[in-house]
Symmetry: C2
């Protein structure tokens, strides 16, 4: 798919080239883009918060205005369908607006004002004021599976701009035409809204991406993609003369646990919900539930198999993902103890484009514990593994060996299961960034409370999220101002809170003249 | 100083052994300590916040109770003197109490509650609640130069306990007797206050430290020490099968800029203040101002030289620091263009114990720009370099090549210097974690607003601080709970805010029934 020297879009429905190829960015141009971003950084950081928010809103509005064109372009290169892609474009716009709101509130600056205290121990305390400042230019590696929401104008770009950082995107080769067109739209919107030259650029090609990670002007990297690709770039970031933070979202197994009581209460609903979730978007979500823990003797197999056979599954995004899916699901089928619940009748080569069959396997906990390395490999695409546990001890043993994951779901029934459910949730919290009760992990809401991240290998940095307002925290660092006169302080730290932002004054969180009450908000 | 198999304390006043040697911890014992910490992690995390705060207060009280014994022990092994050490013990206790207060306030959980929203775009939103949870066992590498505040019960330990994480300290070999005694006191205080077994341990020896960083149970590392030592451990942390965050505070040049107007207004005071700051604690602070930028033609040299000759400087902490100081300051003296303002008359070998002379050098900006690598090496100990700038352009050029630093100080005069001072502050913010106006960087107040960190190589992670309340953020990760019933939620996330903590409800920060007004606090 990735030709030498250019990215060529392919139609997943046919496997044929679509649109013009986009040339890879030369090393010389990466060099210039990086330094242009460095030039822009100070001016971008200095924009008032309202203008910074305006940049985000301008990008959102421009994407909305080009909706029909962009959705059509995305569908040609990804095959994800206009309904899903339209929803994703909405999410991308809403996300930009959400960050704009957060920028205006100012809470993301984490401003703190500590007046001088001559009585402090062990020594008198000077006037100290602290806020977060932008790290500098951010490299963003776009994902294949979200051509809007995790691509050129996606969450990493939005959160880096919200932090006040210039952005250089390395486009995903799977949708080069869409990337190039989105880049034009975003670039024009930013320029029109007053962003300094150099605030935004998109480049193409693996070598250009590597040059970007090692560019001295780049101060952080956001990445969504495979564990192997992410690990290679992480190593590059770590071995720079000045190591920089690398935020990689690398994939996940997303275990789902079902108790006997939940099956008794809602078995059919659970079987249908699971198949719908793991086949959604042809299973190409980092939150796809890849493991389903069911009690031995459950009666859900017929319902699961029927649902898998009935579900329409779109083509995979590209030939590499299709080949990976075919290889890993075949390997899974061959592991000792694994039963293939959905043997394939139709020869795969007769399927059009990058289409593949959905697949469901089953294994017992003892067999899983015997071969965790082979059975816990992520299979990107519409496949999942049912793991059957004989009792609570087996379930706990199996959960305890799972690697870090983005999500973990528990289907149980209260009050029947209450004590056991508490233990299951504790096990899930220990290894997941999001714990879901009686629901499915696909569908990541963009809210203040969302956490999209998790312990290694789900992400390279479990302290952070790539979705939700705190995603901007990845691209900010604290600076304290000691004894600095009012006129030389940033407005966010001046006496009287001229920006009216949320900040901590003398240890107390608040904002001018507003009352906050948790419970019904009355202020 | 570090004998094979044990740490032997040495008296810096005499260079003679003092106290009994402490045996290095065996690999087998490191293994057990790590797993004991893993065992403790869940129970420690589950303690109510008031009990977690109680652990911190108990440690502070126990240290206070043993004040006389600990200060005497510390003085024997560090030679820092009872006044400084008494103040440092106070700081250490106050720091533990400060974290206890922050734990009780609950803001460090960053709790967020987003009620379900059926009207949300692009899709209805589930109930989502998010808080920070402890990472798990933390390894803390103690520093030589703060035997209390950055050692066994220092800031890393306090902030990790505040986060709810078990702590395993690798003691610094420079004060083994003090470390062992502090370990007994802290361990007993924690056990008495209800900490689970395994919550705290101290180990000894370089190999034990390396084994600790690679121990599967360890989830983060706090380190204060040299760039070489920190980089070696950072590489170990990064190349684990599961890389873990490594927070290294590696040292700093701490540039200080003085404008002509400031000299005209307060020249004598600046000269005296600078010498007092860079020789304080024998120059063994990571915040020691190592560079002083003065305008060409200034008249401060006699005052600086007189102050250096007059200041009493205690012995350095150990033979390795003394040898490093001697070597690096000699190398500095030999660089082309460097003038030695304080040539030494007395043969060094006649000085008692680990005493060294304070030293001051001078160089021009052009000479600095010609040999930045040689001239910008940190010299730990009582030495500093005056850099003379011909004009504003030279000063800006010199500041622009400085590496990341913990602090940067500006001595200027407003309104005379206002425009130039604004530019200087901007340059400082770009490369420092704390910017100080008309003051000195030594003395790090423990407050909400303190930032002790900075861009590489000052620290390995500029997003974080090792002093102040947000230091606990290094050892916490976010978890979102989706649709979880009230009775299975952590109390911090339940409806009605039963803990009465600061949290964000439906996008608005606040706490039950309290009014926060920035300006005079009236709630």
């Amino acid at each position: 798919m990735e030709l030498t020297g250019c990215d060529q879009g392919m139609d997943p429905q046919t496997g044929e080239p679509v649109g013009a190829a986009v040339a890879h960015t030369t090393a010389e141009r990466v060099h210039r883009i990086g330094w242009a971003a460095a030039e822009a950084a100070g001016r971008l950081a200095a924009l008032p918060l309202t203008e910074r928010a305006g940049l985000l809103r301008a990008v959102g509005a421009a994407l909305e205005e080009a909706r029909d064109e962009l959705v059509a372009l995305a569908d040609r290169e990804t095959g994800l369908g206009p309904v899903r892609l339209g929803g994703e474009l909405t999410r991308t716009r809403v996300q930009l607006e959400f960050f704009a709101d957060a920028v205006e509130e100012g809470g993301l600056l984490e401003a703190v004002v500590d007046p001088a205290d001559p009585a402090a121990l062990p020594a008198p305390r000077p006037d100290l004021r602290r806020m977060l400042v932008p790290l500098g230019p951010v490299a963003v590696f776009a994902a294949s599976n979200f051509p809007f929401a995790f691509s050129v104008a996606g969450g990493d770009t939005a959160s880096a701009l919200a932090a006040g950082c210039p952005v250089v995107v390395k486009a995903h080769p799977g949708h080069p035409g869409l990337s190039a067109r989105t880049a034009e739209i975003v670039g024009a919107a930013l320029a029109g809204a007053g962003a300094p030259d150099g605030s935004f650029a998109v480049l193409y090609g693996t070598e250009a991406g590597r040059a970007l990670v090692t560019h001295p002007a780049i101060k952080a990297v956001g990445f969504t993609g495979s564990e192997a690709g992410g690990k290679a770039l992480l190593d590059l970031a770590n071995t720079r003369p000045d190591p920089i933070p690398f935020y990689g979202e690398l994939g996940s197994l997303n275990p789902t646990v079902v108790t006997p009581a939940a099956i008794a209460a809602r078995g059919a609903e659970i079987a249908a919900g699971f198949v719908a979730s793991f086949t959604l978007g042809a299973g190409q979500f980092c939150t796809k539930p890849g493991l389903l823990f069911l009690p031995v003797g459950h009666d859900l197999t017929p319902a699961l198999v029927d649902a898998v056979r009935a579900v329409p599954v779109g083509p995979l995004l590209n030939a590499r993902i299709r080949d990976g899916y075919t290889e890993i699901s075949a390997a899974l089928a061959g592991v000792a103890g694994v039963r293939n619940l959905t043997p394939v009748e139709q020869p795969e080569r007769e399927r059009a484009g990058y289409r593949v069959p959905a697949r469901l396997f089953a294994v017992s906990v003892p067999d899983l514990l015997a071969r965790p390395g082979e059975l816990l490999a992520e299979c990107f695409g519409p496949a999942a593994l049912v793991v059957e546990y004989a009792d609570a001890a087996e379930l706990v043993a199996a959960l305890s060996i799972l690697p870090g994951t983005l999500t973990a779901s528990v289907h149980a029934d209260v009050p029947t299961d209450e004590a056991f459910a508490a233990q299951l949730i504790e096990l899930c919290v220990a290894r997941a960034g999001r714990v879901i009760w009686n629901g499915w992990p696909t569908g990541v809401a963009v809210t203040w409370a969302m956490q999209h991240g998790g312990p290694w290998p789900a992400t390279t940095g479990s302290l952070h999220t790539s979705v939700g307002q705190t995603a901007a925290r990845r691209f900010l660092r604290p600076v304290a101002y000691q004894g600095v006169p009012q006129e030389l302080l940033p407005p966010a730290l001046r006496d009287g809170n001229p920006l009216g932002i949320v900040r901590r004054l003398d240890g107390v969180l608040g904002v001018d003249g507003l009352m906050y009450v948790d419970g019904p908000v009355t202020g």
